[in-house]
Amino acid sequence: MTQTTITPDGRQIGDVLMDLRNITLRFGGVTAIKDISFDIREGEIRAIIGPNGAGKSSMLNVISGFYVPQEGEIWFKGYRRGPMKPYEVARLGIARTFQNIALFDGMSVLDNIMTGRLNMMKAPIWSQALWWGRAEREEVENREQVEKIIDFLEIQNIRKTPVGRLPYGLKKRVELARALAAEPKILLLDEPMAGMNVEEKEDMCRFILDVNDEFGTTIALIEHDMGVVMDLSDRVVVMDYGRKIGDGTPDEVRNNPEVISAYLGVAHE
């Protein structure tokens, strides 16, 4: 059953790539996520929005394997995914960025992005120790791929700079580059525009759209800037207090009374 839809701007959206069914996540007595189901389809940009504390980041952590939900199933590419460690999830092709930048400060930009390709580098340790044969070949091959991403995100001039010296906006971009270097099927972005000025936000939006367009990467993002979310995303999930209160295209969500009341409050009689 292949479903393909074409968006108004001409991108193709394919089958369901990831399906989350009845996910419930509890921390002791607190229920962070309560019986939430939604799917992410191939090639789309899916946004998760909601007020603070709604459980958005927990949801992302469930997808990337940090938290194992007490109930519910995660289906990826048509298979049910058992409980997995984050590094195993990464190997399935799910990459993410963090709300607070999580780069490796002691390494250069280039090395940081190269770490995104660690799963493609499988040379045995003796080959690496002697820098001979497979290790050297892999290094050059992966460097070529990384350079493409560096070109794509326009960070050529800082490739040898230690990450710790970069300004905030560029760090965010390097983090995106590292996630992209892994050639993910799904890219999870946790507030990619938090703390940016308008110009940086515009750049970031452009990059997200370009990534989706050129690499065909499926993107799931959390964002607070409603303008950005409504413009970028194909479908939006709205969460509040761990429940799902809305799901649909930006227009549907915008007119959903429950969503409006969650964001603006309900008028008292």
């Binding site: 460690k85 999580a102 490796f104 995104g116 290790a135 290094e139 996630a179 892994a182």
Partner: protein, 358 residues
Amino acid sequence: MFYREAGDFKTSYRDDGQTFPIKLDRWGYYAILAVAFLVVPLVIDSYWANAVLVPFLIYAIAALGLNILTGYAGQVSLGTGGFMAVGAYAVYKLMVAFPGVPIVVHIILAGAITAVVGMLFGLPSLRIKGFYLAVATLAAQFFLVWLFNKVPWFYNYSASGQINAPERTILGWAVTGPATSASAKYLICLCFAVGLAWMARNLTRGSVGRKWMAIRDMDIAAEIIGVNPLTAKLSAFAVSSFFVGIAGALLFSVYLGAAEASEAFGINKSFLVLFMIIIGGLGSIFGSFAGAAFLVLLPVLLKNVLVAQFGWPTDLAAHIELMIVGALIVFFLIVEPHGLARLWALTKEKLRLWPFPH
């Protein structure tokens, strides 16, 4: 002749990734190697070998090993002395049990045995970090030394409890035992130091090194990009212990000739090597050598100046020397916490602009 990369174009990623991207650096490095291999062995005497160069090279190997673990992978270890003891006792048992096998093979095997022991004591690192891990490795230090003292099998039931290195030769040259010449001692240590430094450099610039540094800088982010913390940490412990084991094997068989576990491989050794990498620079190959040079050469230099130049009594000089070394360590930590390697890197950055800094 200016020190800079202008005009030194790289046309492939392979060239861009090399260890010494600047031509002048590369030539300087080859020149130092040439002098070390061709000139020094001809002129070295036993004072220079025993007091300066051989200990410098051996401690440089140990510092490289600890730097891989602490500087690159971020796992603090106070068990260096214990792991050196494993290398020493392993090489001793191997030398005695298989006299026909070349000594180089024994030394490398001793490193491999230490790697296994190191991995075993690295297991706690999966659950604990920082100071707590340091305490766990401290347990390794005390346990291993105690083991080598208490179990007579390790020192072949000798009456003194010491181990003594029998004479072994490479191509007819004695490299262990009392008849060893200064240049033979120096050359075997130099070969190991250069080879291991080259391997350490290769490991740290490749994918294993990136895994280690990723774990060091932010373990959660490392896991999210697909680094298995178990294999990354244990491989760091294994490689580090391999280096430290070889250093211990060389220290016993080539340098000391006879050793007793608690004396030669006590907690002092662990701290000495840790100071070396802190002063030299964490996460730097050059720093390991710089730190070893600083802590091996400085006491010798001070002794020569204080006793030979000023004519002070030896015991007074020894005390003053301790104070000066300690003060210098504190001074360095305050002025440049990233060590000598950072000072060197800053100098190089300035040199690239010199003489027109604007």
